[in-house]
């Protein structure tokens, strides 16, 4: 019984940490897909860049973890604005196939450029002294960094949800996801809204990528390696939804961890089967619009 409980707690904890990272990275993708209808497979590139910016600032310039993470958020958000204005915006009206190909192209280019700039080795993530080791909660101990990661993610998520619910910008985003034409006729500048949302989503991805560098190692293949996971979160959660991906990320994070912990011989088999089941049951995702 004790072993069972301990396994349960282990799975829940690691699954939660994994889920938080997946969610923070993917939520922007969900909103941009819902808002602009853009199938952006290259979303992981922003997370990867976030990781690179953060680790470079920390390792090469000795900038503290927190600042480096924030800088990654800002830098990638700004960079994504350029990309959105220059390239993505041209393809909002294009078909899915074009969008898929375009974003695969972006992934390919990023793999080569990142490799050229930072080399093939994964980036070293030196966790600050105070976040190393493990925390003793009495009944058992947990790795400090992952505990920190879960808490910070919850903070970010709370801020995001409040922002979407309470601010004017959030209201505009919600209106545009619901009905773009209606929003436009109400005088919302959707083009500007797209750019800002895209930047916010990319920035969040960078934040997640940086913070999660410990779990999803920052390397040139990053955008490709984890693509499927980000897409799973978004498609199972439901496009355009903010909360759907949260549930999906929890399912995925905890499910994946449980599979590895309990039935490593089956790998991710159950996970993919479950995704297929959910998508067949609800093609628009758990929280998608029918």
């Amino acid at each position: 019984m004790d072993a069972f409980l301990s396994a349960f707690v282990s799975i829940l904890f690691h699954g939660l940490a994994y889920a938080m990272i997946l969610y923070v990275i993917s939520v922007g993708l969900s909103v941009t897909m819902g808002l602009m209808g853009f199938v952006n497979l290259a979303h992981g590139v922003f997370a990867m860049l976030g990781g690179y910016v953060m680790t470079t600032l920390m390792n090469r310039y000795g900038i503290p973890f927190g600042f480096a993470l924030l800088a990654a958020f800002i830098a990638v958000a700004l960079f994504s604005i350029v990309l959105e204005r220059l390239l993505y915006s041209r393809l909002y009206r294009a078909g899915e196939l074009e969008q898929v190909l375009f974003s695969i192209g972006i992934i390919f280019m990023s793999v080569a450029l990142v490799r050229y700039t930072w080399g093939a080795l994964p980036q070293r993530m030196v966790v600050p002294e105070m976040l190393r080791g493990s925390l003793d909660f009495g009944f058992r101990s947990f790795p400090t960094y992952r505990t920190f990661l879960i808490i910070v993610s919850f903070g970010v998520i709370a801020a995001l949800w409040l922002g979407i619910e309470r601010t004017n910008f959030g209201a505009q985003v919600r209106a545009a996801v619901d009905n773009r034409r209606m929003a436009e006729s109400l005088g919302i500048n959707t083009s500007k809204l797209f750019t800002l949302t895209f930047a916010l989503g990319s920035g969040l991805a960078a934040f997640g990528g940086g913070m999660g560098a410990d779990i999803l190692a920052i390397n040139p293949q990053y955008a490709q390696d984890y693509l499927i996971y980000f897409l799973m979160v978004v498609s199972v959660g439901g496009l355009g939804s903010i909360r759907g991906p949260f549930v999906a990320a929890l399912l995925l994070g905890i499910g994946d961890t449980a599979c590895r912990y309990l039935v490593p011989e089956f790998g991710a088999f159950f996970l993919f089967a479950a995704m297929m089941g959910i998508l067949l049951w609800r093609p628009m995702g758990l929280f998608g619009k029918a």
């Binding site: 282990s10 080795l121 994964p122 080791g133 101990s141 790795p143 190692a217």
Partner: protein, 399 residues
């Protein structure tokens, strides 16, 4: 100044074709992974080849040139590897095939080498069965087998009071070799292998596996993953989950504390015990000289690991073979020269290619991660066994 250099290059370019037409050019087809999983290892092997050429091209007999044809097999991708090897022997007519990180790739290339009668020097892939007990025609290995390190490690663990060990290996040929070999050495010595888990090859986050290992409360965790990026992930999980604090040791073949990744791992790696044939921190003169050259060319923070050592030795073997034939190489002759080739001058100590089957014979060192001059290194504590032949072949003489 610039113009002079340009003129010299232009001149060389005009003359060179004629010069090389007269000289004997020996081609080495070098296959490794420049992209995909573990591209970093491919890059390191490539650096080794360049370093070797720079240092030793002058040692070739007069008029003999060596040309390296590099090919990218893009990771554990045997079809590609096989095609590249076929093209190298049929189209480019190479005299040697060399390199190869991944076991499945090496296994796919070996039959090509045999059919084309072109010697194939494996510089990394470490599954025993690539070279069966009777040898694989035209294939030799200068790297290692997992049995060579994991069997003695199991024996050591049994003798050193590690009663319960939990095993975590990557689910592919070498991982299974490591697990089987360790289990044999360990359980024959009276140890208890509590659980043997095989992790998917592409695993990145090892925390769930490590957590389960921790929950099983063993004396040590035995780990094998392909050297390179994953080693850091393993160490991270080991550290974060506080296994060390619970007194659970981390042991394994040298892949888990591979030299080029050690600086990435941080102090948590301190004390990890591994059994292996090469360490960049080894003090023997041949290694010190090798290390000095390496860091001279690639920077003081760049460490060659066992893949570099094997590539280095492999180049040495090929060059010795060329020299022995006076520059006119022939596949059959090269293969017979490679079998039984030996040197005392390898960075890893004395080595020899088994004349019976073409696999490597080398020493196994027990190492512990310690700080040397402020840098983490695999310090060799003792030469655990000398002249180790691949134990798998001794145990499976018919395979």
């Amino acid at each position: 100044m610039k113009f002079a250099k340009f003129a010299a290059i232009a001149l060389a370019a005009t003359i060179l074709p004629f010069a090389s037409a007269m000289a004997q050019t020996i081609k080495i087809g070098f296959i490794t992974s420049y992209t995909g999983q573990n591209a970093s290892v491919g890059v390191m092997m490539d650096k080794t080849v360049k370093l070797w050429m720079k240092e030793h091209e002058k040692d070739l007999p007069a008029g003999v040139k060596v040309e390296i044809l590099t090919r990218d097999d893009t990771g554990p991708n045997p079809e590609t590897a096989k095609r590249l090897a076929t093209e190298l022997v049929t189209r480019d007519k190479v005299d040697f095939l060399a390199g190869v990180i991944w076991t499945p790739n090496a296994a796919a290339i070996a039959p090509i080498a045999a059919e084309a009668k072109t010697p194939f020097v494996i510089m990394n892939a470490g599954t025993s069965a690539i070279i069966p007990s009777g040898g694989a025609p035209y294939t030799v290995r200068v790297s290692f087998t997992l049995w060579q390190s994991s069997l003695p490690l199991g024996q050591w663990a049994a003798k050193n009071n590690l009663k319960k060990v939990y095993s975590l290996v990557s689910d592919f040929g070498p991982g299974i070799d490591a697990e089987t070999a360790f289990k044999k050495g360990f359980t024959d010595g009276g140890g208890n292998l509590v659980e043997a888990v095989r992790m998917p090859l592409a695993t990145q986050d090892f925390a769930p596996f490590m957590q389960k290992a921790k929950d099983a409360k063993p004396d040590a965790v035995f780990v094998f993953i392909p050297a390179g990026v994953q080693a850091t992930g393993v160490m991270k999980a080991y550290s974060d989950l506080g296994l060390a604090k619970e007194g659970i040791k981390l042991i394994g073949p040298g892949d888990i504390t591979t030299d080029e990744e050690l600086p990435n791992m941080g102090d948590v790696a301190l004390g990890a015990i591994t059994m292996f044939h090469y360490s960049a921190a080894a003090t023997r003169p041949a290694n010190q000289a090798f290390l000095k050259m390496w860091q001279r060319d690639y920077g003081a923070n760049d460490w060659p690991a066992f893949e570099a050592a094997a590539t280095w030795d492999g180049m040495m073997a090929i060059f010795d073979t060329i020299k022995a034939q006076g520059g006119k190489v022939n596949g059959e002759k090269s293969y017979s020269l490679l079998k039984g080739w030996k040197t005392d001058n390898s960075p890893r100590g004395p080595i020899m290619i088994d004349p019976e089957n073409g696999d490597i014979i080398q020493n196994e060192y027990l190492r512990r991660v310690e700080k040397v001059n402020g840098v983490l290194g695999n310090v060799e504590i003792e030469t655990f066994q000398t002249a180790v032949k691949d134990p798998w072949k001794l145990l499976n003489p018919k395979k």
